[in-house]
């Protein structure tokens, strides 16, 4: 955790880049109404205090790129996000990834960490762990 002043929480999440270098990305969580209301989550540049520019966002497979792309509401493009959930019938189509009040932030952090470290699987596919 980087900092927390309700309702805003900043967290850094570990990542593996396509060249297998270890890195991390910062995220801004807006938690008004939590847990009844889904968090809104942005990939963030904490030093500059703004959204992370598209050119510096995570790279890799389409799944990774899609999750962190620029889109209309600027949040992380996942069904658990406050803006993503109601978008395009995602709540109906992806119940396993949708937010509900019985979840906690661990659910989101596990999903983010899973996406951000997925590049490590390319190495595993070449050489057995």
């Amino acid at each position: 955790m980087l900092s927390y002043t309700y309702p805003v929480l900043y967290i850094a999440v570990a990542a593996v880049e396509p060249d297998q270098a270890v890195s991390e990305y910062d995220f801004k969580f807006e938690l008004t109404g939590f847990p009844g209301t889904a968090p809104a989550v942005w990939i963030w540049d904490c030093k500059a205090g703004c959204l992370l520019p598209a050119a510096r966002r995570p790279k890799g497979s389409p799944r990774i790129v899609e999750a962190f792309k620029e889109w209309g509401d600027h949040t992380v493009y996942r069904p658990w996000d406050r803006m993503g959930g109601p978008h395009n019938n995602w709540t109906r189509d992806f119940p396993a990834l949708t937010w509900h009040p019985r979840r906690d932030l661990t659910f989101i952090l596990e999903d983010l960490n899973g996406l951000l470290t997925a590049n490590a699987l390319a190495r595993a596919a070449r050489a057995d762990a």
Binding site: S61, R63, E66, W90, F94, A118, L121
Partner: protein, 133 residues
């Protein structure tokens, strides 16, 4: 922990996350392991079978192995030899289900006494995007 799990303490085995052997509780635990994540389980090892397309492969893991460790094996040369360009898309789910398991979860979490086996499916993770109806 055993009391919390509802079983006798003498049946409990304590593992360090991704560790090879259970810790010997008769000796002083190394201070360096104090910051590691541990897992208590009654099974010493778990036989994991992963299904993918028409095939299946099995390997024994410790209960404290993370799902990530099983996934690394499943996509690798001794597993299903998944193309490295596709491998980052892969996930593991309980056999017959479609919800991906958290990669940092210990596999022992999904195996309840007296079971010592875990059946998983290697699946391609969903990519939610704006093109869906």
């Amino acid at each position: 922990m055993a009391r919390k799990g509802g079983f006798p303490a003498e049946e409990a085995l304590l593992f360090v996350e991704d560790g090879d052997e259970p810790l010997d509780l008769a000796v002083l635990v190394d201070e360096r392991t104090g910051e590691r994540i541990h897992h208590v389980h009654r099974a010493r090892q778990i036989e994991v079978t992963v299904f993918y397309m028409a095939g299946e492969k099995s390997k024994t893991f410790r209960p404290a192995a993370r799902v990530q460790q099983v996934l690394d094996w499943a996509v690798g040369p001794k597993g299903f030899k998944i193309d490295p360009s596709i491998a980052p898309e892969m996930e593991l789910a309980i056999h017959g289900q479609t919800t991906p398991l958290p990669k940092n979860a210990h596999i022992g979490r999904f195996v309840h006494h007296p079971e010592h086996k875990l059946a998983l499916d290697l699946i391609r993770g969903v990519v939610p995007n704006g093109g869906l109806p």
